[in-house]
Symmetry: none
Subunit: 242 residues, 2 copies
């Protein structure tokens, strides 16, 4: 029951606090629980950390170091934007693995509490984006890009944490990630006009889809399915309703 691997009490307190924080989902963790699990009495806690919040700050700091270490452990692939993607995914994964810790880190940010962590995280991402900027792949200043991407990254991670694990769809993450990266990257991607898809009616939309379908060879539907699909589409697009 007690966390006594003969580590120094300071460490035992840190681990006990981290464990209780991680397991008791959202419920407040009392100092008595912590000290009991650590096999230590109250004054020891206050001697080492001064405060309950001091202890929690230490836990957060340790967790953040782990996070940073995870981000740094990747060898640069030579494709900076690809590294950013991995960084993003790593961030999300960290949040999903330790949701409680993550919520303390990024969910409870107040200007007087811990903007230092945010600044560090931003610096970490800016560092990577700098390589992309050097390679001429960036549309905006690396710092602005880093702040923007990190903000979206945090938002996505929080949303994913918010929904029950069974319904979590990581597509939200990849989609937002690629949207952000695309927006800051300097890739010259532009094409022809999208036809006349400006009207707002079922008919127009159906006609546009009909034309587009005939032009392209989509293999998402079998030929018999497609035949029926087109027939229905025709029925819709010749209806008077709007």
């Amino acid at each position: 029951m007690s966390l006594d691997g003969q580590l120094p009490p300071k460490m035992r307190l840190l681990r006990a606090a981290a464990e209780l924080l991680a397991n008791s989902g959202g419920a407040p963790v009392s100092t008595r629980q912590i000290t009991q699990l650590a096999g230590v009495t109250a004054p020891t806690l206050y001697h080492h950390f001064g405060d309950k919040e001091g202890l929690f700050d230490a836990v957060v700091a340790a967790g953040f170091e782990e996070y940073v270490a995870g981000e740094r452990d990747f060898a640069p692939s030579g494709q900076p934007l690809e590294d950013i993607r991995r960084m993003w995914d790593n961030h999300v994964q960290f949040g999903l693995n330790q949701p409680e810790l993550y919520l303390v880190m990024f969910g409870n940010i107040r200007p007087e509490s811990r903007p230092a962590i945010v600044a560090d995280a931003e610096a970490l991402m800016e560092e990577m984006l700098n390589k992309a900027a050097v390679a001429g792949q960036l549309n905006v200043q690396p710092r602005e890009a880093a702040r923007s991407i990190l903000a979206a990254n945090v938002g996505v991670t929080l949303m994913l944490i918010a929904e029950p694990a069974s319904e979590r769809n990581l597509e939200l993450s990849t989609m937002t990630r690629d949207a952000m990266i695309f927006a800051v990257s300097a890739e010259p991607a532009s094409g022809a006009a999208p036809g006349d898809a400006g009207k707002s009616s079922v008919v127009v939309a159906a006609i546009a889809l009909n034309a587009a379908l005939q032009a392209s060879h989509s293999d998402q539907l079998s030929s018999s399915e497609l035949k029926l699909f087109l027939e229905w589409l025709h029925r819709i697009s010749t209806s008077p309703a709007g």
Copy 2:
């Protein structure tokens, strides 16, 4: 000192809690503070709200209704994407005006606590994006787009709340906002290059048709036909690349 405008105690409790929550930045607010400011004793609180968290939930719900009301008060401008921009800015402003309330709403989201608010906010944005989809301006399904945009919106707002008011730079917001909207919109790039950026016109048209069909109750197809039709449509509109 006491909040007695002769309102019913329930209201006085709500207002007292909201005021204390808003002003005492991040510090825990005790029930005794609340009841004293409301000019009421403890059991009254528990009679009406059952719990401290029940009271706070009520405060959050009230705040959220205010937020929704603010979002709805805008007359649609006819340009759905422009409405989305206003919606985004409104969201950020709400968060900056009531940071503590916002942190409780979106900073402390746990799967068991309040995903309902997130769902409502998503629905609100999806509703607007549907108009864009009908007009053929959307690249992805409105629901996915709404989730993605809202996630980024929340992330940006949290980051802005995190930094001291004097250093707040709203450019982070506008930049991220436009990046997200650009990424989900079908305007600029389409058709010719369905490689990585910009979906084919088939997909855009299918999404538009899908949204239009759901909006209008076309009776050109029987319900079973429509079901299968929509399924195929979904298959088309989520295909990797046309």
